[in-house]
């Protein structure tokens, strides 16, 4: 950098710190929103009235007690835009993509310019990136409460927004990589490695998990279904944590921590080893979100083993962070930035220890679907991401506004309130998760029956859930102190853009490695052959696989021997590689592709005959499909799973364990990841239509239930007209709907709705009519009124859950050929269906169809 060859010249550059400032302010603003929504939905779990009913108390107080008669008394049991099911996706998306996303961009824009000694490649691209990202967030904040969702966790945004995300991400990537290209620093610092991995991997994950076919501007069906969708979703979901919430923050740690501590990074070689092992191994661990489910067991086992192997690489990051502070620990007493970083990194270590632990199948059997998992992710997002963000903001603010931090004391107070908040949060959910898990698994002395009603187990942890909500509130209060502190700092100073004199050296030999030199060398060759035989070890038939394993081990031993012998040349090669951003990025891409390819490509064919097991899901009727879309739209999956695991307590409580074939037509899958209510995989036929009808209106008929009431389902009309278009897309995706004309589809749906409505009217359920509309005067009118409502479609779907056809494993019909590569209706199904509907929910209902409305 300081070479003085004659060609060098000094130039002055101005860093683009405005973009950093904007991203930072955006992160803080969206952070408040995300946490506010989080606190609201946490309280909703304790008080169902928080789903909108509390407005009655508020407006009644204003109207009657304060005599503000112009404020109407708001008298409803719930507001659709405020239910847990719709707000929880808003909370997670805001926390991940708005809060941490903007924070990450702030850190990346700030550090990349300094590590490359250049201004960002293009101010225009930076601007588009910033404003595009904020626009995406605004759209998300509108669509999610409106019930427009894809029904897959952290991938809920609808398809037009998905396209925007892809475009903006590509613009970000372009800006970043072109900045690397014009850098004035010869070699890439470790922080940049992590940024590269982030950008490449998130793009790959996002695109694959968002493949879908639109049915309208706001709705689409994912191309994957059932187990495929589950696997792709958790490959994405798990690695969203890895490559959106972990690697960029590690990069930020590698830049901001040594800067703040004024100490060299602990170990360069630890950086190398933990970076490459982290990006390679992380990708494989996704299936640990699906342990003991219908997912093929070999995939579950891969998820478990790779999660265990992931522990050390994760801790490598923690060690390099904490040990960098050797010699600077005294700053822990005085500098709030160091405090936040130390606690953040410690939480990283804690949650990456907890992760592998939770990935062990027997631990997962207890913890999965409980609040323990919620506690675990929050020790990551609040403890690790949130505290790293705070540390970074407190360090950046004085630099970005040219004034020292307004109040160190206030920052210290933020630290302590936040720390107490997150500890209260995590600890109470440990207890809540374990207590609920044990209660759910408790059987009577004979071991043949579970003893606790589901709702009892939720009641038991009520206080702990309240403690969690209070912990979250503490954390929010702490964060508000940060808002004040940064605001005051910014107000007292003025925006500053750093200028720096740098040495321009045209003779600098960066990016000079040929592709050949990058890929044909000893380390790469040995890694390649080692991995090649390791994969053969996996997939070859018995006998040959043992040979492949031996060869793999042989290569490993030889590689170790060569490394010991040629340490210098290996190390020179790596130093050289880190001076070449393109070959480096390609190697990262290869490392992250491998795990996904090996798990997902075989799974695309997993729906083949042999893997349907003995059951094949019954195809939905048009009305049931409409009901399913309502289920997805209301976010029911946020509290209800549809997956009975291969565990005795699950089977005793919910019925026979779920088979692969039983969700084979579910676009998207709805296996769920959390049970605040019971599993619904076999809900169909367990209760009467009228039970569901009354329960949707007033879930308190099940004493102690926290479920929100859904009064709007009794007013909103089912969109029968959309069904033909939706079914056409499902058919293209390979779901064997019988061939029906659009009119037949609509008629079939209306007939089934009428049949359910007739039954309900016969049981004299209360019919709700909006004010001003005519009350039905006789049974026919009541029936016709009811039949078009969303609640009827939803009931038809709930009653369908768990219905299947037995199939003999041998003579599986061709319709279960792997489907996503074969869009369109297979010919062998075209002859099968007469014009009349071939599928109805339950056979005994078939005969009593009333006339068409």
């Amino acid at each position: 950098m300081t070479s003085d060859s004659p060609a060098t010249r000094k130039i002055t550059i101005e860093f683009d710190d405005k973009t950093t400032r904007m991203f930072m302010v955006a992160s803080i603003g969206w952070g408040v929103v995300a946490m506010l929504v989080g606190v609201l939905i946490a309280f909703q779990l304790n008080f169902w009235q928080m789903n909108g009913h509390y407005f009655e108390a508020v407006t009644r107080f204003l109207n009657e007690t304060l005599k503000l008669s112009f404020i109407p008394v708001f008298d409803v049991d719930g507001i659709q835009y405020l239910t847990f099911g719709r707000l929880r996706p808003l909370h997670t998306n805001a926390a991940i993509f708005a809060f941490v996303g903007n924070m990450m961009f702030a850190g990346i824009y700030y550090s990349t310019q300094r590590l490359c000694l250049t201004r960002m490649f293009s101010d225009t691209l930076s601007k588009i990136h910033f404003w595009g990202w904020q626009l995406i967030i605004v759209f998300a904040a509108i669509t999610l409460p409106a019930g427009l969702t894809r029904g897959k966790e952290y991938a809920e945004l609808i398809w037009p927004i998905n396209l925007m995300v892809v475009v903006i991400w590509v613009i970000f990537a372009l800006n970043f990589f072109l900045t690397l290209k014009i850098r004035r620093e010869k070699s890439l610092y470790v922080a940049l490695w992590f940024y590269i991995a982030t950008i490449i991997t998130v793009a790959m994950l996002y695109i694959v998990n968002h493949l879908q076919i639109p049915t309208s501007l706001t709705h689409a069906y994912p191309v994957f279904a059932g187990v495929q969708d589950a696997l792709v979703q958790w490959w994405y979901g798990h690695n969203a944590v890895a490559f959106f919430l972990t690697t960029p923050i590690l990069g930020i740690m590698y830049y901001f921590l040594p800067k703040a501590a004024g100490r060299p990074v602990y170990s360069y070689r630890l950086s190398i080893v933990h970076f490459w092992s982290l990006v390679f191994i992380y990708i494989w661990a996704g299936p640990h979100h699906l342990l003991n489910t219908a997912l093929p067991q070999w995939l579950q086992m891969l998820g478990v083993f790779f999660s265990l192997m992931l522990w050390a690489p994760s801790w490598g990051g923690m060690l390099n962070g904490l040990l960098t502070l050797r010699g600077a620990w005294d700053k822990l007493r005085t500098d709030p930035v160091i405090k936040f970083f130390v606690v953040g990194i410690t939480f990283y270590g804690m949650s990456t220890f907890e992760g592998p632990l939770l990935s062990i199948r027997s631990v997962s059997a207890l913890a999965h679907y409980t609040d323990w998992i919620i506690g675990h992710v929050h020790s990551g997002t609040l403890g690790w991401n949130g505290f790293m963000a705070a540390g970074m903001f407190y360090w950046l603010a004085p630099k970005l506004w040219g004034k020292k931090l307004w109040s160190t004391n206030l920052a210290n107070m933020h630290f302590w309130i936040g720390l107490i908040g997150i500890l209260l949060y995590v600890a109470s959910l440990w207890f809540a998760g374990i207590i609920q898990g044990l209660m759910l698994n408790e059987t009577d002395p004979t071991g043949t029956r579970v003893v606790n009603e589901f709702v009892q187990t939720v009641d038991k942890i009520s206080l702990l859930m309240l403690a969690r909500a209070i912990g979250g509130t503490f954390y929010l209060v702490g964060f508000l102190l940060l808002v004040i502190n940064i605001w005051k700092t910014a107000r007292s100073g003025a925006p500053v853009n750093e200028t720096r004199e740098v040495v321009e050296d045209p003779s600098m030999k960066k990016d000079s490695m040929t592709w050949k030199a990058a890929f044909t060398n000893e380390p790469i060759a040995l890694t390649f052959w080692g991995l090649f035989f390791a994969i053969l070890w996996f997939f070859l038939p018995p006998g040959a696989n043992h040979m492949a394993l031996l060869v793999t081990l042989g290569f490993t031993a030889y590689a170790v021997y060569q490394f010991k012998r040629n340490t210098q040349s290996w190390s020179d090669w790596y130093d050289k590689l880190s001076e070449n951003y393109l070959p480096f990025s390609v190697l990262v891409l290869i490392a992250v592709i491998l795990g996904g390819a090996i798990q997902i490509i075989p799974t695309v064919t997993v729906n083949r005959a042999i893997n349907v097991e003995d059951r094949l899901q019954s195809v939905y009727t048009p009305l049931e499909l409409a009901g399913r879309d309502i289920y997805v739209s209301e976010g029911c999956y946020n509290c209800h799973s549809q997956m009975i695991r291969t565990l005795v307590p699950d089977v005793l409580r919910y019925g026979d364990y779920s088979r692969l074939g039983e969700s084979i037509y579910d676009h998207p899958f709805q296996w769920g990841s959390k049970r605040t209510g019971p599993d619904l995989a076999r809900e169909g036929g367990k209760r009467s239509d009228s039970w569901h009808y009354l329960h949707m209106r007033n879930p308190r008929m099940n004493q102690g239930s926290r479920m929100p009431a859904y009064p709007w389902l009794f007013h909103k009309e089912t969109k029968f007209k959309d069904l033909p278009g939706k079914i056409a897309v499902q058919q293209r995706l390979g779901v064997p709907f019988p061939i029906m004309t659009p009119e037949e589809i609509e008629q079939h749906a209306r007939e089934q709705a009428l049949e359910i409505a007739t039954g309900l009217v016969a049981e004299q359920v209360k019919i709700e009519v909006p004010k001003g509309e005519k009350e039905p005067t006789n049974e026919t009118e009541a029936r016709d009124h009811l039949a078009g409502k969303e609640v009827i479609a939803l009931i038809s779907y709930l009653q369908k859950l768990g219905s299947f056809e037995e199939v003999a494993p041998d003579d599986t019909p061709e319709k279960i050929e792997p489907r996503i590569f074969k869009p369109g209706i297979p010919d062998n199904q075209r002859v099968r269906a007469p014009s009349a509907p071939a599928v109805t929910s339950t056979p005994d209902k078939e005969s009593t169809l009333a006339t068409q409305p």
Partner: protein, 186 residues
């Protein structure tokens, strides 16, 4: 990275500097390395043991099938012995015994009132509940105590009516108690 240079324990400071950030090149902590090695070795060992040896470990489906078969046979035995000792008369007698009635009420309040109502009238605050009233004299599937016992145990013959089979949640003895509680209202 020159472990052979001079003393192995010297702390090497790398030459490069990035925006003022320097890097040591400390050796990797041994305990950390061994954690990684052990996890990898465990993976290889366990994978071979699970999937690549001539004998096959039972997979999760085989395990759960075996466990559930055992449970089913136990339940059947329990039911058989209960049914052998129970009759319409003995159930009527139980309905006069306060200890059985207290137990029966507790079960009824935990499991049944959602559909049949606190007072067995199948209404809650005047709203019709999905169940049939149990405090009148009309019995859809037979008025004998054993008929009632059968419905509670195995559920309604018409699944769409929503009366589920309670033998998954209640033991035969508990079902008898809850039947006794219902009978005590007649």
């Amino acid at each position: 990275m020159k472990p052979s240079d001079s003393n192995k324990n010297d702390i090497v400071l790398k030459e490069h500097v990035f925006d003022g950030i320097q890097e040591y090149d400390q050796k990797l902590p041994n305990w950390w390395l061994f954690t990684l090695y052990i996890a990898i070795a465990w993976f290889i060992f366990a994978w071979v043991a699970y999937y690549q040896l001539p004998f096959k470990m039972p997979d999760s489906h085989e395990k759960i099938d075996a466990q559930m078969a055992l449970i089913e046979s136990k339940k059947q035995e329990e039911l058989d012995s209960m049914m052998a000792s129970i009759s319409n008369e003995s159930l009527q007698e139980m309905s006069l015994d306060t200890s059985h009635l207290d137990a029966g009420r507790a079960i009824f309040e935990a499991k049944c009132i959602a559909c049949h109502g606190q007072d067995l009238s199948a209404t809650m605050n005047g709203i019709q509940l999905p169940g049939v009233p149990l405090n009148d004299s009309e019995w859809k599937y037979g008025a004998e105590p054993l008929n009632i016992m059968n419905i509670v145990t195995n559920g309604s013959p018409d699944v769409t009516k929503g009366m589920i089979a309670w033998n998954t949640q209640l033991s035969p003895a508990e079902i008898a108690q809850v039947v006794a509680y219902i009978l005590s209202h007649h």
